[in-house]
């Protein structure tokens, strides 16, 4: 029988089989496989963002003017502070996670439970902040006019301060006929109605001589171009088409709609990762609480979910840079 046994002549060598050449378990290696492929997915998104930004490099919204809100501080412009806070929350939950892994190596069940608990809390705060950030972005603050070509015109007073539509739009009484499903063969719900119609904004703009229009194109100083009063009036009269409040997938009062699309897509995809990370953490947390890993004699599962959690943090570091800083 001995002659039928295959001998490769590589027994005992690193890649000869029957051992772990990379000194990592199957589960951990597979987690690394997943992380590499997921990292490529994210870099695809971020590279696509870079592509669109380079394509419209002279008319891209300035992140500092978009994300200026902090909860409970209404009307105080505070660019970056809230995102910086979110970054800290995520880094800190990464720290508690790695402390949980460390405690797991030492088989300290109590410590693992507490550290996992703090990690989950941190993740929940992050997802909540993300939701708040989305809500603020969707709501918008000043409002703008979109031209026939889909460009955004924002309003300033002569001191260069932004002016909200509500401050100057004139109320023109109109009666609207609402088209109902029962009245038509084909029924499509009407698009969202803005607080002010374009006619109202136009009338208000013409009535206020101190208002100017700012386009999304940068001047030679790298700041958005501000038109003179005559140019502004001509721009609104000839090109203005509709009122935009806040941002959605088609219109964005802060500038190019692609900015909003990428914002929703990339931070949404990342937020979804955080959400699943929290859910997986909760599952592992309960496994730790009921002593599954204590009986198994190894807390490697905590380490694997830890890898995923750190990866989510790693992605956020890049999203933070490319969406808010650069």
């Amino acid at each position: 029988m001995d002659t039928t046994v295959e001998k490769t002549g590589t027994e005992g060598k690193t890649w000869g089989g029957g051992n772990r050449p990379l000194n990592a378990s199957y589960g951990k290696l597979m987690m690394w496989f997943f992380i590499v492929s997921d990292a490529l997915t994210f870099s695809g998104f971020i590279a696509a963002y870079g592509f669109s930004r380079f394509k419209f490099i002279d008319a891209w919204p300035i992140a500092d003017e978009v994300f200026t809100h902090v909860p409970f501080l209404h009307g105080v412009p505070a660019p970056m502070y809230y995102v910086a806070f979110m970054t800290f929350i995520l880094i800190f939950s990464s720290v508690t996670m790695v402390l949980a892994v460390d405690a797991g190596h030492k088989m300290q069940q109590k410590k693992v439970i507490w550290y996992m608990f703090f990690t989950i809390i941190g993740g929940a705060i992050f997802v909540g902040s993300q939701a708040w950030e989305w809500a603020t972005f969707i709501k918008g603050d000043y409002g703008a006019v979109e031209t026939k070509g889909g460009k955004i015109l924002q309003f300033l007073d002569t001191d260069g301060k932004r002016v909200a539509l509500a401050e100057f739009a004139e109320k023109i009484p109109t009666t609207r006929d609402i088209h109902l499903e029962q009245n038509g063969v084909w029924y499509e719900a009407e698009p969202t109605v803005t607080t002010y119609s374009f006619e109202e904004v136009k009338a208000g703009f013409l009535a206020n001589d101190n208002l100017l229009v700012r386009t999304q194109y940068y001047n030679e100083n790298g700041k958005p171009t501000v038109l003179t009063r005559e140019e502004s009036v001509a721009k609104i009269m000839n090109d203005g088409k509709l009122v935009v409040e806040g941002a959605n997938l088609k219109h964005n009062e802060y500038g190019h709609p692609l900015f909003a699309d990428f914002f929703f897509f990339i931070t949404g995809f990342h937020g979804f990762h955080v959400l699943t990370g929290v859910l997986i953490n909760i599952i592992i947390f309960f496994n730790v609480v009921i002593g599954t890993y204590e009986r198994r004699g190894s807390y490697e599962m905590v380490e694997k979910v830890g890898l995923y959690w750190h990866f989510v943090d790693l992605v956020w570091v890049f999203v933070f840079t490319f969406f808010y800083l650069v």
Partner: protein, 127 residues
């Protein structure tokens, strides 16, 4: 690897007594880097925004380099890459870095090309 950790960071200049103090040390370092990033993002020093290097503001280069530094420490110390075998390390890092650099290069060059076409050619875009 499970129980041995390499405890020195910054190429061996800072050594920690145990793994827990190393984790806190890395956290402090990451926090400092983040604070520098946020401060630069708020202040935007003029000498960094005026100067350009390879078609990008110096400030943006600073942000990107600091981000890569942060990414290094998250991967090396939080994800324990420092304690893994060099084979695993290279399989993960080289693959990712090569593919991402390639993707960035072709997409950014293409984006810049399209920008030039809109700007200089007979495509009317501003109406």
């Amino acid at each position: 690897m499970a129980h041995e950790h390499k405890l020195a960071i910054f190429r061996g200049t800072v050594k920690f007594k145990n793994n827990i103090s190393k984790i806190w040390g890395v956290f402090v370092f990451l926090s400092i880097v983040t604070i520098i990033e946020v401060a630069l993002g708020i202040i935007k020093p003029e000498f960094l925004t005026e100067t350009r290097f390879l078609a990008m503001k110096l400030l943006n280069w600073v942000f990107i380099i600091l981000t890569l530094v942060k990414a290094y420490y998250i991967t090396w110390d939080f994800m324990h890459m420092r304690d893994e075998k060099s084979g695993l390390r290279r399989a993960v890092v080289w693959t990712g870095v090569f593919l991402i650099c390639y993707l960035m290069l072709i997409l950014l060059i293409e984006g810049d090309y399209i920008f030039e076409v809109y700007k200089n050619n007979y495509v009317k875009f501003d109406f």
